[in-house]
Assembly symmetry: C5
């Protein structure tokens, strides 16, 4: 998984059907990359979050057939020792 | 997922069977990488799009057996905060 | 797989259900990237570890449906020749 | 998918069983990376090709159990606009 | 797939159960990255090898449930044209 900060959100009226109702957040990762992740834990702009990538992102949703490849699976409370 | 801009399209007469009838667009990602993605939402040159990678791209198609690893799953209307 | 050093740990009260009870360690990989991996072998800060990525990380857990994409699958005793 | 140019081929007598009979081409991607891809469309040195990565590469073969992670799935005739 | 040179090996007494009995080699890829791959063809230090990544690495083993994400699937005899 990777650590990132939620910096924005985006919306797309014309999108693939399986994505309807999902919330897309823009995240800047600690490696300074910008990705878009589907929110599963109620995160918002300013939150430090834990992101899972690839087929694992689909596992965070009840629907294994959604076409996402990145999911926010935790809002980080604290980090020790890093 | 990643954000990119559609900059072109490509065609290949000699291609793997499962790809017949699919539309391939060339996308420059916001990380300045050039990839080819299969279009599922009617995107065109100049559109800012949302792209999913890996096995998730196959989920955007009814046919789970197509050999694609990148799919355009949304045309971005707006971005807030990024 | 990749080699890394455990440099910290993190906790997240609000997290995706399948992650409850799992231990998340922060690892700096030998390519100087920072990732978060789920611990399956009792590793701790200071350990040199072997990490598997993607769907393979789920194979290290009895529950194939957890939404992780990185797992610590070994504590390295020794390296020869590298 | 990614675009690349076929620059060579390789052979390996001692190889994993599922690879017997497959043709391996060396491709330089437009990101200047060198990868090896399994040919599914009769490509050769000098061809500009379309490559799929990961589990999608296995979908280009009738045998889903071959241990490849990159496949040439098209010979590019033309590119417009890029 | 990627090309690499075997530069060492590693051992880990405390490791995930599915890895028991497997041989782990340290490989430097032609992109100068250091990875660890599970050996399926009897490779050793000094060999130039073909490596498959991700879920495809599990396909090289009879046991689809091992938690590896990189496998050595060929010892390269020769390269032409690269």
């Amino acid at each position: 998984m990777i650590i990132g900060n939620v910096v924005g959100n985006l919306w797309a009226t014309r999108k693939e059907e399986s994505l309807n109702g999902l919330k897309f957040l823009i995240v800047e990762t600690i490696e300074k990359k910008t990705i878009v992740a589907c929110d599963f834990v109620g995160a918002g702009i300013g939150d430090k979050v834990l992101i899972t990538l690839g087929s694992s992102a689909r596992k965070a949703s009840e629907n294994m057939n959604i076409s996402i490849d990145a999911g926010i699976i935790g809002i980080i409370d604290g980090i020790e020792g890093e």
